[in-house]
Amino acid sequence: MEPRMSASGLAGASLRLLAASGSVIALLVGWEALARSDVVSDFLLPQFTVVASRIAEDTLSGTLPVQLGLTLWRALAGFALAGVIGVGIGVMMARNKAAAWFFDPIVSIGFPAPKIAFLPVFILWFGLFDLSKILMTAFAAIFPVIVATAAGTEGVDKYIVWSARNAGASGRNILYEIILPAALPQIITGLQVALPISLIVTIVSEMVMGGEGLGGTMMVAARFADSVGVFAGIVQIAIAGYVLIKAIELVRRRLLVWHQETQQIATF
């Protein structure tokens, strides 16, 4: 449509930052004004300042860090499991005919299915504590990792593999030195899909099973009609999600410094 703003210029960057923070501030001011007006009741929309001071209170009293820590631990443990096992299965599917035969129908059905439907099954099998939340999260997040890894591994240029083999590299060397690095961009893309899923599913699990965490606390707040608590939860979860997603983008750029995508990366 129109040429992108010169993203490299310092002036452009600070202008974007200004516009971004401006509209976020506008949103918060709008929220505050709407909440103070008589259009909506304090219950339906508590004032932002009240919500913010609740968040500050919870931070100082130590409850928020504990809840946040619980949710992050469950989500990231599930995410890590999904990452490790998913990459393993994905590589196996691309390199081994039997593995491809076995996993292909499972993955093609499991990928689009709403895995959250299995939540009561996980409760039945693993109880109501961390283990079932983590396993539920891993189960929901693993499919995009498998699919991305298998596609990435399959797409590795076979001439690179051949020349490595020709140079005397062992199968293990080829896997770690050639295939995994070459497939890394796609693997990370899979992980970038899996991370928000992990958060969504962990939070739903906490809401259904209880056991504290940001999701559990929010649900309790909703049951007790504590609308300030609910909105504090939304803000906390939104910030946690934002930070995690920015973090994985950063990891991507660090890990792929050598890759051409990093050189020409377009900041939005």
Binding site: M1, S23, F43, F102, K115, A117, M207, I234, A238
Partner: protein
């Protein structure tokens, strides 16, 4: 046919293992009813009109929420790409809210809209809106400038460029964004029905689980997964037809 059977043969293996493990006592049959019992329960469910009441409730919420999100989201996304003032105002907000785990909206929807249909429709709408906006926005922004220039050169009006060039050219990316939203909508639907409902397939699963009727619970879980899978396949087929002109 043989190719099809061969492709899906691992599923038969899994079904066989599912049958044998609880029957042989390797797994507790209370935790995993044998596959044949789950299938029998599925057959009972399918002839029971109760299932269709729950399914109809879920389907209605799903279609209303997702449909609304697609209409509003595509519109907003393209307007954002097309009009600089809207973009400057709305884009940072979208960027900022987009990563929010959408399930966090469930308690807010309960407070705002109660426990009925509206809360689930609102949840699916709000949850799916952002992915649709972002994909439509990216799609419309990515339309090749040359296409637009040549249309301008040929004397097309701004409106004509929008409907004749930008919309068709962005269609593939928009449709793939909607596919993401479709998957997300099922997750939100089932989650919200676990938490706040008296009908719907998610409610049915939770209800059967709490009642200890595990064969029927497993049957419903399989059914819901199957519906999600079938919806995705149907959507893919639709996408292929809708984009047939590109080939």
């Amino acid at each position: 046919m043989t190719a099809f059977l061969w492709r899906y043969s691992p599923l038969f293996l899994i079904a066989a293992a599912w049958e044998i493990a609880p029957r042989s006592g390797m797994l507790d049959a209370a935790l995993l009813p044998p596959f044949s019992e789950v299938m029998a329960a599925m057959a009972r469910l399918i002839i029971d009109p109760g299932l269709y009441v729950h399914a109809a409730a879920s389907l209605m919420r799903e279609i209303a929420g997702l449909g609304l999100a697609v209409v509003v989201g595509v519109g907003l996304g393209i307007v954002m790409a097309w009009y600089a003032p809207v973009r400057i105002l709305v884009n940072p907000l979208v960027r900022c809210i987009y990563p929010m785990p959408k399930s966090a909206l469930i308690p807010v929807m309960i407070m705002w809209l109660g426990l009925g249909h509206l809360a689930k429709i609102g949840l699916i709408f709000m949850g799916c809106l952002l992915p649709v906006i972002v994909s439509s926005y990216n799609a419309a922004r990515g339309v090749e400038t040359v296409l637009i220039w040549s249309a301008q050169n040929a004397g097309a009006s701004r409106r004509e460029i929008l409907t004749e060039i930008v919309l068709p050219a962005s269609m593939p990316e928009i449709l793939s964004g909607v596919r993401t939203a479709l998957a997300l909508s099922f997750v939100l639907l089932v989650s919200s029905e676990f938490l706040m409902a008296r009908e719907g397939l998610g409610y049915m699963i939770a209800f059967l689980g709490e009642g200890g009727i595990y064969d029927a619970m497993f049957a419903t879980v399989l059914l819901v997964s199957g519906i999600g899978f079938a919806a995705d396949r149907a959507y893919l087929a639709f996408t292929r037809r809708a984009l047939a002109w590109r080939a």
